[in-house]
């Protein structure tokens, strides 16, 4: 009996070992409200605070990518901006808007960090420093997005259509922070050929990308080459978070949504 149990145990462990060795541990796909979530912990735990939980969906509905990632210089890679509470207090990074003074869409934006705080202010700290805490969010994702056009993956929202339909109107300019820029001259869409013959061609729209990003967010840091065909992109690299994967594996619609990029039908 003991020998039989031992054999069954070895068999179960063996199968589990082989399957894990081949596929690794399956990564949990984030739920719609979790997609684009970033945990910021450069100094939080050092200061005996919970790390900051930042949800992209709320901020991207109100501001373009460029406002935060170019004008406020939030880095594209988590944890590389190294924001200090004192920076926020001086009115930089989160503190640019979260200063307790700025009024946006009729709502006063709460102060992010402050030198002095009363015991009741702990709730305010918890609004950002909330990892591992059961904090009730002021904005409920389901309610916030219920009218938005839907998509299958990511946040489950078609952000592009949401803007076109007027559900969102991301601000591209912060007075006193952003630089007034001339409108971008529209560049034509172009096709990129996939390596696999059976895959539809990728139609890249500069217009769709620059409306929220500007030029300097992508060039040259993410995309070194502009000459068509000069840089060879592989899906492996993109899935590893390079090139398109910088945004399309984290915040923008995910790479699982193949048809959003591979749109041009294969010519027979």
């Amino acid at each position: 009996m003991l020998k039989k149990t031992f054999l069954v145990g070895v068999l179960v462990l063996g199968i589990a070992g082989v399957s894990l060795a081949q596929t690794g541990v399956k990564k949990k796909r984030p739920l719609p409200f979790e997609y684009g979530r970033v945990i910021l912990n450069s100094y939080s735990e050092e200061a005996r605070l919970s790390p900051v939980v930042f949800d992209h969906w709320l901020h991207r509905a109100k501001f373009t990518c460029r406002v935060c990632h170019v004008d406020l210089t939030f880095a594209m890679k988590t944890g590389t901006t190294t924001i200090k509470a004192s920076d926020n207090m001086k009115g930089y990074y989160c503190g640019t808007c979260h200063n307790g003074k700025m009024i946006f869409q009729g709502v006063k934006i709460f102060e992010s960090c402050s030198k002095k705080f009363l015991p009741e202010d702990v709730k305010r700290c918890d609004r950002c420093h909330s990892l591992g805490k059961n904090v009730k969010r002021e904005y409920d994702f389901a309610k916030f997005s219920e009218r938005f056009p839907k998509e299958r993956f990511g946040n489950g929202i078609d952000w592009e259509k949401s803007e076109a339909a007027g559900f969102i109107n991301p601000v591209d300019f912060l007075e006193g922070v952003s630089i007034p820029r001339k409108p971008l001259s529209t560049q034509k869409d172009f096709a990129l050929s996939p390596k696999l013959e059976s895959m539809p061609e990728i139609i890249f729209s500069h217009k769709k990308h620059t409306v929220w990003n500007g030029c300097e967010l992508c060039h040259p840091e993410i995309f070194m080459g502009v000459k068509k065909g000069a840089t060879k992109y592989s899906m492996v690299e993109i899935f590893e978070g390079r090139y398109c994967g910088v945004c399309h594996s984290t915040v923008a619609f995910p790479l699982l949504d193949c048809q959003r990029c591979h749109t041009k039908p294969v010519q027979q």
């Binding site: 170019v70 004008d71 406020l72 210089t73 200090k84 004192s86 920076d87 001086k90 009115g91 930089y92 990074y93 503190g95 640019t96 200063n99 003074k101 007075e175 006193g176 922070v177 630089i179 007034p180 820029r181 001339k182 409108p183 971008l184 001259s185 620059t210 500007g214 030029c215 300097e216 967010l217 060039h219 040259p220 840091e221 070194m224 502009v226 000459k227």
Partner: protein, 109 residues
């Protein structure tokens, strides 16, 4: 010293202190609490970086001039206090990199 005289001296002292505080206070503190200053370097920074959207339309000479202006401004920005220094340097670097990138592309052609 009589109480009234002491009180008057105190008031004058307070008034002087208040006027000094107004004169000495940094200009940017009057801009709705915005930390982003309106100093000279900022004008040059705005002038340079406002052109990024049209980087590919500039000639090689124009792009070279913009890159040089970025480099010249960098030394001034490096003298700023943190975190303004870090943030502005990053923004300036993004502009410079874009112009340098457009410059290289045009030169290769």
């Amino acid at each position: 010293m009589p109480y009234k005289t002491r009180s008057a001296i105190g008031k004058i002292f307070l008034l002087c202190w208040f006027l000094t505080a107004i004169l000495v206070a940094p200009k940017e503190s009057f801009y709705c609490g915005s930390a982003y200053s309106q100093e000279d370097w900022r004008k040059e920074f705005d002038e340079i970086c406002s052109k990024t959207e049209n980087a590919m339309e500039f000639s090689v000479e124009e792009l070279r001039s913009l890159v040089n202006r970025c480099d010249a401004l960098k030394s001034r920005v490096e003298k700023l206090d943190e975190p303004q220094r870090k943030i502005t340097l990053r923004r300036l670097q993004m502009c410079r990199d874009l112009y340098a990138f457009a410059f290289e592309m045009k030169e290769k052609k």
